[in-house]
Every structure is written in structure tokens, then in C-alpha cells.
């Protein structure tokens, strides 16, 4: 089992991805107060879209351009799915009792998974090797304290960081970002001042889906395949990250994601029990709920009394 610094590098890479996905959970939660169970599937669909794009149209293009276009394509595909989800599965239930949108979300999660399964087949889809071989070459990586940061890992960390900075600036300073914060706080009043609530919520889903799509492409390049079941576990982890940081809280999701990635990698490094990796993150979720249910940066999550 590699060195400590390798574990930190791997954990940080994974943590960045968790953070990107967690943002989608936390933004939707912030604005609608519901867990979008199907968000993991949006991430998975993004991975498929990227790999499919490269397989079909990547041939004649140079690697950076092909990858860039693949990311854009997967953003488009995932956003359409995310927006469709909001429009058809959640919007009709916006004022229903809390359980209804959750059950609808679970149903959609299953349906999306199956629909990918039916159209994409029973075997994991490989990420075209040609486009990733240079990026994952450890020889080309940077040596850091005895570990190696592969170019792709570096890219994942840089892209994720840029996206998170971009999102923070957007939410803080843009008109739509402010409207999102206003809607998250008081949806009814936001409507009364003339904010088009439906547009704000749709935008939230699109942004969350776009971030998940980028994560999906990066991870499928990183681990070389994408499979229709991948979204479920990634979704569970990312949700844990969102709760860890404090659900509904955007910086919280970022911190929670990175910490969760590090905890997992270091847990495996320290115990050598890679089979139990997923149990670590669940253990984190339980411990967080036990001792700090509002998360590291979050607000009260216990039912109002």
C-alpha cells in the first residue's frame, strides 16, 4: 500500500470529485429542501456522455480539444436530464408532503439507471484509452514527498478548484446567484418580489447537473470505465460529503467532499482494508449525524420544533 503522501494525493483527487457532486445535492437541498436521489445518476450519465462522445467523434481531434468538447457534450446531456427531472418528476410535487418528492426521486433514480442499462448494455463502458493514456502516465507525474501526482490527478484538482471558485463567485455576485440565495431562504417572498421561481430552480438543477457531468467525465477517465451502477455509490458518498459539510451550505459541500476523500484514502492507507473503504465513509456519516448533525459548517437540520 503506497506511501502516506500517495494516499493524500489519491484522497484529494477523489475528494474533489465528491465535492463537485455534493454541490448538486446541497444546492437542490438548499432551495427545495429535498434530497435529489437521482443526482448520482446524473453524474453517471455525464460519464457515459463523455466516453460516448470521444468514441464517436473524438477520432480526428487533438486530445485536449476532444476532451474539452467531450466535457461540454456531457454537460449538455447531464443538464438536459437534470432539467427534465426537475420539470417532470419534482415540479409537480413541489407542494406535496415531504415524502412524495423523495419517493419520486428514488423512482427516477431507478428509472434513469435502468434506462442507461437498457441503452448502454450490461458491461462497463471503457473510456477510450487513447485520450487518457498520457494523462494517467505516472512517469509524467510530479513527485511529491515520495508520492506521484499524475497529470490527470493534477487536472482533476485544478479543474474542480476552478469550478468551485467559479460557482462561489456566481452565487455571491451574479443576479441569478443572488436570486438563488433569496429563493433558498424564502421561496414565497422571492416569488412576491418578482423572481421567476421556476427558472431559478431549473437553473439550480442545471448547474448541479453540469458540475456532476464534469465529475463524471473526470472520474471515468481516471478509473478508465463507466458503468450504469456507478452513480449510486458515488451519489451516496457525495451525499455523505454534503451532510458532512452541512447540507444546504455550498462551502460546506466543498469542505465535506475533500475531507471525505481524504478520510477514505487515509483510512485505507492506515488499515490496509480496501474492501471496507465504503464502510468508512458510511461510518463518517453516522458519526457526523451523531455528534454534529448540522455538519461542519451547516445550520440546524433537526426538525423544527
Amino acid at each position: 500500500m503506497g506511501t502516506l503522501s500517495q494516499a493524500v494525493i489519491n484522497g484529494l483527487t477523489l475528494g474533489m470529485v465528491y465535492a463537485l457532486i455534493a454541490l448538486g445535492y446541497t444546492m437542490v437541498y438548499g432551495i427545495l429542501g429535498m434530497i435529489n436521489f437521482a443526482h448520482g445518476e446524473i453524474y453517471m450519465i455525464g460519464g457515459y456522455a463523455g466516453a460516448t462522445f470521444l468514441g464517436l467523434w473524438g477520432g480526428g481531434l487533438s486530445v485536449p480539444i476532444a476532451l474539452g468538447l467531450a466535457v461540454l457534450f456531457s454537460i449538455l446531456v447531464s443538464s438536459l436530464h437534470g432539467a427534465g427531472l426537475e420539470r417532470f418528476a419534482y415540479r409537480p410535487l413541489r407542494n406535496a408532503p415531504a415524502l412524495a418528492p423523495l419517493i419520486s426521486a428514488i423512482g427516477m433514480s431507478i428509472a434513469l439507471q435502468q434506462y442507461v442499462f437498457l441503452t448502454q448494455g450490461t458491461t462497463p463502458k471503457p473510456f477510450p484509452q487513447f485520450f487518457r493514456q498520457d494523462l494517467v502516465a505516472y512517469e509524467a507525474g510530479i513527485k511529491l514527498f515520495g508520492g506521484t501526482l499524475s497529470p490527470l490527478q493534477g487536472l482533476i484538482i485544478i479543474i474542480s478548484t476552478l469550478l468551485m471558485i467559479g460557482l462561489s463567485l456566481f452565487v455571491r455576485h451574479s443576479k441569478m446567484g443572488k436570486a438563488m440565495r433569496a429563493t433558498a431562504e424564502d421561496r414565497r417572498m422571492a416569488g412576491l418580489v418578482g423572481i421567476d421561481i421556476n427558472r431559478v430552480i431549473l437553473t439550480t438543477f442545471v448547474i448541479g447537473s453540469a458540475l456532476a457531468a464534469v465529475a463524471g467525465v473526470m472520474v471515468s477517465a481516471y478509473i478508465s470505465t463507466i458503468f450504469y451502477r456507478d452513480g449510486y455509490l458515488a451519489g451516496l458518498k457525495a451525499f455523505t460529503a454534503a451532510v458532512f459539510g452541512g447540507i444546504g451550505n455550498i462551502p460546506g459541500a466543498m469542505v465535506g467532499g475533500v475531507l471525505l476523500g481524504l478520510i477514505e484514502a487515509l483510512g485505507v492507507w492506515a488499515t490496509g482494508a480496501s474492501d471496507w473503504k465504503d464502510v468508512f465513509s458510511f461510518g463518517v456519516l453516522i458519526l457526523v449525524l451523531l455528534f454534529k448533525p448540522r455538519g461542519l459548517l451547516g445550520e440546524v437540520v433537526a426538525e423544527k420544533v
Binding site: 440565495r181 433569496a182 418578482g194
Partner: protein, 242 residues
């Protein structure tokens, strides 16, 4: 009796609002003319807020019609009504407590397609309520109740509304602040905004209003000028505690 014989700015006829089995508003008809302050007074649960909410497009009306500037607007959504110049300051103020004072004002102007008048209107609000200017970078939640009421009204002013609907602006405020709030309302009217005011503080409301309606159990049971109602024995007994 009407101060202006032209067509009313806002005309409501036979408005009904139901929440499931609850029939909150039962056939209200009222008119508001350009430049007036009209108040609707009544006890808790008389249907005042429901009326305002359905005018502002936040509550579905079950039947009846609402016309604004001669155009039927019943059933239109809030963003449409705001863009038409109808703005509601709801009961309890509902400022965005996690947005700064300035951001709250910007949200008030959300529906403006053209952002050019925003800075000037912000300055206008800061001139009207200097305390908001001093605290423009402070989070809305840190303001006092009176300051929040001012922010809520300032937020509504950002779109320069033609008709301002005020729901219980004096609720929970100290008497001195209540006085300021009503002075502001008068100032708004002077600046050309028509005002429909819902109040439990009937004394203050009638004293400042041109006309008033009495609402009971979702129906209008009386109307008159502010002064007439203020001296009406039945009104005095029921709402003024005299």
C-alpha cells in the same frame, strides 16, 4: 364619494378565495383609484391577507375578477404583477435575512429587464431611509424590526410600483416606529404611488386613509371615507375599542 371619477386603478369584483374547505374570501368587491390610500380593516382571519395575496398573484383566486389599469389580471402570477407595477409588502416583512441590505434591494428589482435605473433607485431608497444606507452591507437578519419594515418597503420601491399593497406594516413595531411607517406611506403617496393598506391598527390606518373598507368573515360589511369610518359608532365599537 369617490375622489376621482375616472376608471379605478384597481377594481376587484366578487372575489372568492378558498383553501380547501375553508372559504376565506366570499365575494369581495372594491375599487382603488389612482393616488389614493385605501385601507381594509378587519379582525384576524377576516380575509384581508388572502385578498392582498390574490391581488399580488401569490394566491389563486377561486372566482371573481381583478382588473388593473383596465386589464384583467386575475390569476396572473407574481412576476407578472410586479412587472405591471403591483407590489406586495407581506405581513411579517419577509426580508431575506441571509442577503445583505443592498442585495435585498437588488432582489426587489429582479424583474427589471433593464438594470439602468437600479443605482438611482437604490440611492432614492437610501435617501428615504438613511439607516438602510448606513447598513447596506449588513445582513438583512441583523436589522431591527423597524429597520426590516423599512427594508421591506424599500425593496418594493425598487420597481417604482404604481400600486403598493401593504399587509400589516405596523405589526409588532414600537409606537414611535409605527408613526414613521405611516409618515413614509404618506410620502409614497405624494410621490405618486397608490396604496392599498391592510391593518389591524384601525385607528392609525383610518386616520391616514382616504377611504376604507370593513371586512368581516370574508365579506365587506361597510365602506366610507377614512374620517367617516373613524367616527362611525359601529366601527368605533368593533375596531377602535371605544
Amino acid at each position: 364619494m369617490t375622489p376621482n371619477s375616472s376608471t379605478p386603478l384597481l377594481q376587484i369584483s366578487d372575489l372568492h378565495v378558498r383553501y380547501g374547505p375553508v372559504h376565506a374570501v366570499r365575494g369581495i368587491s372594491l375599487d382603488v383609484y389612482q393616488g389614493e390610500i385605501v385601507t381594509v380593516i378587519g379582525a384576524n382571519g377576516a380575509g384581508k391577507s388572502s385578498t392582498l395575496l390574490s391581488i399580488a398573484g401569490a394566491e389563486k383566486l377561486s372566482s371573481g375578477s381583478i382588473t388593473f389599469q383596465g386589464i384583467e389580471v386575475g390569476g396572473k402570477k407574481s412576476p407578472f404583477m410586479v412587472s405591471r407595477g403591483v407590489n406586495l409588502v407581506p405581513e411579517g416583512r419577509h426580508i431575506f435575512s441571509r442577503l445583505t441590505v443592498e442585495e435585498n434591494l437588488e432582489m426587489g428589482a429582479f424583474s427589471l429587464k433593464d438594470p439602468s435605473p437600479i443605482p438611482a433607485r437604490k440611492e432614492h431608497v437610501f435617501a428615504t431611509f438613511p439607516v438602510l444606507g448606513e447598513r447596506k452591507d449588513q445582513l438583512g437578519g441583523t436589522l431591527s424590526g423597524g429597520e426590516q419594515q423599512m427594508l421591506a418597503m424599500g425593496r418594493a420601491l425598487m420597481v417604482a410600483p404604481k400600486l403598493l399593497l401593504l399587509d400589516e406594516p405596523s405589526l409588532g413595531l414600537a409606537p414611535l416606529i409605527v408613526k414613521t411607517v405611516f409618515e413614509t406611506i404618506i410620502a409614497f403617496r405624494k410621490a405618486g404611488t397608490t396604496i392599498l393598506l391592510v391593518e389591524q391598527n384601525a385607528n392609525m390606518a383610518l386616520r391616514h386613509a382616504d377611504r376604507g373598507y370593513l371586512l368581516e368573515n370574508g365579506m365587506i360589511v361597510g365602506e366610507g371615507t377614512g374620517k367617516e369610518l373613524l367616527v362611525d359608532p359601529a366601527v368605533r365599537e368593533a375596531y377602535l375599542g371605544a
